[in-house]
Every structure is written in structure tokens, then in C-alpha cells.
């Protein structure tokens, strides 16, 4: 960083009268009103709804609302499903990210683009697509049902499937980027020391991308936790088996908003926590202590 005030540490700024007057940094001067006004409106637009949630929260009844068996069930189901979806995403997504980052074959670019489709696809459409693929009459689902007796839709496993479908691309994209920029030189060095490719992957590559792996997993988990559209379409809305927190919030809102607000606060807290974790990672990339 260039210090413009001439007072670099360890060196006195004023040596006689030679100190020049340096103009203020351009970026620090006032913001033009044409930008300041829409910026302020935009900021408020994003912030006021969250404030409303906090202001209208039934703070006194909160412990009671959150310890309600129905709320606890939804909370537990959400945490379990989001965690399971993250584990599945890690098991399938990390190798996928490796292939996308390192393999070379025709059509790889298309594959890479396809992987990101669920990122922008409306979740309801994702849920419908899952039904057509894995539903009881789906192109794969009918064989799962006929041969193994497995039915995914409208089950807890279906929730995990729906959440994985929507959340895994977050992990893949994050880890793929890290693998692509990871130091290939170190992998070469490992090879000259006798390490086979899988050993190189496990003992050199993965530790090097660990920060991004963690960031990707947290992002994936957060996305899975908040999943609504794909879940309700593919897995339905059955309390105890498929009704996760977002679904419970939507349901409760029709009758009694207070429990809905209480659960919303839990999701807001989770979101803020994730953001704090990720910011810390992103501000210090590769910060392996």
C-alpha cells in the first residue's frame, strides 16, 4: 500500500520543510448525489425487511415457540437433511470438480456449463425435473422402484436429493476454481518423490484447497438449509418427514405468523453466521494457520 501522507512507519514524516502537500486520495472525496441517493435507497431496500423481522419478532415468546415439538422437528429435519446433502455433495462434487478442473476431453466446456445450470434454474423447475427423472414413473425412478423398491419422492431421502441437486453446484464451482488455480508445481514435486496420483490428490492437492473446500461446503450447506422450491415439488410437505424449516415457515404463515417469524430468525442467524465464516476465508485466501 502506498501511503500518500509521507509518514511511513519508522521514518519521520517531517524532515525540515521538505514535506510536500499531497492532495487527498480521490476515492475519499464526497460521493455525487446522483449515485448517493439510489445507493441509499438500495441499501434500505435490502436492510429494512430484515429489520422488520427483528422488530416484529416475538422475542418474549421466542423460547416457547422454538421449543415447540413441531418447530423442533422441522429444525432437526432441516439440519439433518442439509448436512446429509452437504456430505453427498462432497463425496460426488469434489471428484467432479477435479475432473472439470483437470481432465481434458472434448465437450468438457459444455459439461462445465451444465453443472452450473441448477445455480440459475428456478428451484421449482429443478423439483419437477427430479420428479420426471427419479419419480415413481420417472425415467430412472421406475427402475429404482421396480428393482430395488426404492421410492425417493415424498420421503426424507427425497429432501436430501432435492437439496443436493440445488446446492452441489455451489460446492463444485468453488472447489473447481481452487483446483484450477492450485499450485500444480507442488503436485509435480510430489510425483518426483514417488507419490501416485491418488496420493498426490489426498496428501497435496486436497490440503492445498482445504480453505476453498470448507468455503464451498459451508455455502452448499447454507443453500441446502434454505431450500424450498425443489423440496416441496419433489419431496412434498409432510410434517416430520419432508417438512423442513422453510416449508414450516410457509405453512405456519397461513395460520399463525409468530412461529413462522421465530423459525425465520433461526435461518437469518444461520445466514449471518455463514457469511461471517466465508468473509473471514475470503479476506485471507489460502490462510492456512
Amino acid at each position: 500500500m502506498v501511503r500518500l501522507d509521507g509518514a511511513s512507519p519508522g521514518r519521520p514524516a517531517r524532515l525540515g520543510a521538505t514535506r510536500r502537500d499531497v492532495p487527498e486520495r480521490p476515492g475519499r472525496r464526497g460521493v455525487p448525489p446522483a449515485l448517493a441517493v439510489p445507493a441509499a435507497v438500495g441499501f434500505c431496500f435490502l436492510l429494512v425487511p430484515l429489520l422488520a423481522l427483528l422488530i416484529r419478532a416475538p422475542w418474549r415468546r421466542l423460547p416457547a415457540l422454538l421449543s415447540d415439538p413441531a418447530a423442533l422437528t422441522a429444525l432437526r429435519l432441516s439440519l439433518e437433511c442439509a448436512t446429509a446433502a452437504t456430505v453427498v455433495s462432497l463425496v460426488l462434487g469434489v471428484p467432479l470438480a477435479w475432473v472439470l478442473a483437470r481432465a481434458r476431453f472434448p465437450g468438457l466446456a459444455v459439461l462445465r456449463a451444465l453443472v452450473t445450470v441448477p445455480l440459475v434454474l428456478p428451484p421449482v423447475v429443478g423439483g419437477l425435473a427430479l420428479l420426471l427423472a427419479l419419480g415413481r414413473n420417472g425415467i430412472l425412478g421406475r427402475y429404482l422402484d421396480a428393482w430395488f423398491g426404492i421410492t425417493l419422492p415424498f420421503s426424507t431421502a427425497g429432501v436430501v436429493v432435492a437439496e443436493t441437486f440445488v446446492a452441489m453446484p455451489f460446492l463444485v464451482v468453488t472447489v473447481e476454481g481452487a483446483l484450477r488455480s492450485a499450485d500444480r508445481d507442488l503436485e509435480e514435486a510430489a510425483a518426483t518423490l514417488g507419490a501416485r496420483r491418488l496420493t498426490v490428490f489426498g496428501r497435496v492437492t486436497l490440503p492445498l484447497v482445504a480453505p476453498s473446500l470448507l468455503a464451498g461446503a459451508v455455502l452448499c450447506w447454507a443453500r441446502a438449509l434454505g431450500e424450498f422450491g425443489a423440496t416441496i415439488t419433489f419431496a412434498g410437505n409432510y410434517p416430520g418427514t419432508t417438512q423442513t424449516m422453510p416449508l414450516t415457515i410457509y405453512d405456519q404463515l397461513q395460520t399463525d405468523p409468530e412461529p413462522a417469524i421465530a423459525l425465520s430468525l433461526v435461518l437469518l442467524l444461520a445466514a449471518v453466521t455463514v457469511l461471517a465464516l466465508l468473509r473471514d476465508r475470503w479476506l485471507r485466501p489460502g490462510g492456512v494457520a
Binding site: A189, T192, L193, G194, R196
Partner: protein, 364 residues
């Protein structure tokens, strides 16, 4: 098929469109220096020997075993080669401690953690690194990192040791210490080793024999002393600080220089074994004298006019760059500069004794 004990290389290494044709052998215990300008293919050669890139044609054998032979569809990948490569930038694993870095080869080959660490500590002890065992590579100085990289490579117990500019990343003082130490370790290593360098001093101290590569081929092979005395290319001549003139030796013993001018070497064609034809003349900058007026008859055989184009102060002498036929670098004392009133543009006379000029056949 082969019964050789060391390393034999014959063939072509390649990187993209670049080609380097080579043929050489290194005996067990011998240290071969590979000298050449940037982009000459030195690092590509090491990578090819290590199995990180493939030979375009030809064959590499180590202790009789074929490592690479495209003609036979044979290629032993890096992880299966008994070849250790110390990279120029060391490439220590930043997430592992010094001890675990050195334990890496044993771990990679399936040894348990405890056994691998014990093995690593043995190597750390041998290289005087025991006190750094618990540190991360980021906490090491350049010289320490270099030793750890060497320890890690030696811990893999390779049959061939490759060092890519081992001292290039070190500061001048550390270089001096590490150079002497490296010589010891190279001496203790039983197999053939290769050291890539572009530092002539490093080559003199560390290697037994030199291979000079330039323009995609080997331009010279010989002991460091031979190469320094009779360089075969401008690149080496500049490195060792000699004036080098290609020319044609006539029957009268005079050499017509390719760049213009004529020089006489003592004995004329004697130095070339009686042969006439394309020769190289090497002349030390300190063997040339400068004068403000033409030296009188009876003085050295080689006298020619020139004009000073640059004056540079070295530690104990002054290097004067003189344009003329031929152009020359001349070393004089600081006193002489004042006495002769030398500055850029000064007209001078140069003289050199014929006995100071080394004349030998141009290998090209």
C-alpha cells in the same frame, strides 16, 4: 540389453516446438554440469530425465534400465522413476512441517507415519537440519529451504540426482556457504548427478564435467577448466569473462576474424594441430594493453586502433569496452584510466602479445 551402470541419454527432448538434441553419459558418482543460456532447454532436459515430460525420440537408461524410449513405446512415469529432482524454487509443501516434507517420499511409498518420520529425522540430522524439523517451510530462510529440499529428494533414495540451478534463489552470502556444503553432499551421493547452472563459478566448484547447450544442441563438453580456457561459444566466453573471436586461420599463421581485423596467435597453426581453417581465439581482457599512441615497433605482434565506448568499475579493476577491429573488453587498473584519460569516445591503441592468445579449432 545394456550393461551401463550410469545414466545414458541419446535423443531429442522437446517442449512445444522447441527441440534439443543430446547425447551424453554420466558415470556413477560423477557430477555433470549443464550450462546454457535461458531458454536453451536445461530445465526441459531435467524434466525429461525426471519423467515430467517425454523424450521426443531416442532413449534414456539408468543403471541399465530403460526409462524412456518412444520407439519402443516405453515410458516410466515420474512416480516410478528412481530419479530425484531438486527444483529451482524448492517446491516444499507449505502445509507440511519440515519433518513431514522429508518424510513425504517414504509416506508416498506406503510407510507408516512413525517409520517415515524416523527415516526423515535421519536425513535431517545428516544435513544439519534437526532443529528445523517442526517448522513450516514458510518459516525457513532461503538457504535452509534449499537444504530441506535436498534432504527431501535424498530421502527418496534416488539413483539419479538432478539439481535445477540449486543456488539461483539464494543471496550472495548464503550462496557461498551452501555451495561448499552442496559439493560435499554431491560427493557423498553414489549415483550420477546433473546440476543445471548458468554460473561458471558454481559449475567449477560443483561439477566434474560440463555440457554446454545452446541453440538446441550440445556446443561443448569438457572439464570446467577446459571449457573456461577454450570456450566454444560467445555465451560461455562472456560467462567466464573472455574475448572470443571466430576466424579463419591462414597458412601464414594470421587469423582473419569473422567480425573484421586480423590477430596472430603464438605458434600459429601449432595450437590447432597444424590444421588451418575455422578457429576460435580466446583472449583475456587483462592480457590486452591500452595506449594513447601507437606503440613502437618491437612491441607485441597484435596492435590495432579503437575507440572507447564504455568504462565500468569492477571491484579492483576497470573494464573498458573498446570498439574497433576487433572490438574488445579490456581490464586496466584504476590508475591507468586516469593516466590515459579514458572516457567514452577516447581514441586508443590496443595491443596483445601473440602468446596470450589461445587458438583452437572451432567445433561448430
Amino acid at each position: 540389453m545394456s550393461t551401463e551402470t550410469g545414466l545414458t541419454v541419446a535423443g531429442e527432448v522437446a517442449r512445444g516446438d522447441f527441440r534439443l538434441a543430446l547425447e551424453f553419459a554420466v558415470a556413477p558418482g560423477e557430477v555433470l554440469g549443464v550450462l546454457g543460456p535461458n531458454g536453451a532447454g536445461k530445465t526441459t532436459l531435467l524434466r525429461t530425465l525426471a519423467g515430467l515430460s517425454a523424450l521426443r525420440g531416442g532413449r534414456i537408461t539408468l543403471a541399465g534400465a530403460v526409462l524412456d524410449d518412444p520407439g519402443e513405446q516405453l515410458f516410466v512415469p515420474a512416480e516410478d522413476r528412481p530419479v530425484g529432482l531438486v527444483f529451482q524454487n524448492y517446491r516444499l509443501f507449505p502445509h507440511l512441517s519440515v519433518c513431514d516434507n522429508v518424510a513425504f517420499p517414504a509416506r508416498a511409498r506406503g510407510a507408516g507415519r512413525t517409520a517415515a518420520r524416523r527415516h526423515a529425522l535421519g536425513w535431517l540430522d545428516r544435513l544439519g537440519l534437526t532443529e528445523f524439523a517442526g517448522r513450516k517451510p514458510g518459516q525457513l530462510s532461503g538457504g535452509q529451504a534449499q537444504r530441506v529440499a535436498l534432504a527431501r529428494t535424498l530421502a527418496a533414495e534416488p539413483g539419479l540426482l538432478l539439481l535445477d540451478e540449486p543456488l539461483a534463489a539464494l543471496d550472495a552470502r548464503t550462496r557461498l556457504e551452501v555451495r561448499a556444503e552442496l559439493r560435499r553432499h554431491l560427493g557423498a551421493f553414489g549415483g550420477p548427478s546433473l546440476v543445471v547452472t548458468h554460473d561458471p563459478l558454481e559449475a567449477m566448484v560443483l561439477t566434474d564435467r560440463l555440457l554446454v547447450i545452446e541453440d538446441g544442441r550440445v556446443v561443448q563438453q569438457g572439464t570446467p577448466a577446459e571449457v573456461a580456457r577454450r570456450p566454444a561459444s560467445q555465451y560461455v566466453a562472456r560467462l567466464v569473462g573472455l574475448n572470443l573471436y571466430p576466424g579463419v586461420l591462414g597458412p601464414d599463421g594470421a587469423v582473419a576474424l569473422a567480425g573484421g581485423g586480423v590477430l596472430h596467435a603464438a605458434g600459429g597453426s601449432a595450437g590447432t594441430g597444424g590444421a588451418t581453417g575455422r578457429v576460435l581465439l580466446a583472449l583475456r581482457p587483462s592480457a590486452i594493453a591500452l595506449h594513447t599512441e601507437r606503440p613502437r615497433a618491437g612491441s607485441p605482434r597484435n596492435v590495432w586502433p579503437g575507440s572507447v565506448s564504455g568504462v565500468e568499475l569492477l571491484t579492483d579493476r576497470v573494464r573498458v569496452q573498446v570498439e574497433g577491429s576487433p572490438a574488445a573488453l579490456v581490464d586496466v587498473t584504476p590508475d591507468a584510466v586516469a593516466e590515459l584519460d579514458l572516457a567514452a569516445g577516447s581514441a586508443v591503441w590496443l595491443s596483445a602479445k601473440a602468446t596470450e592468445i589461445e587458438c583452437y579449432p572451432d567445433p561448430r
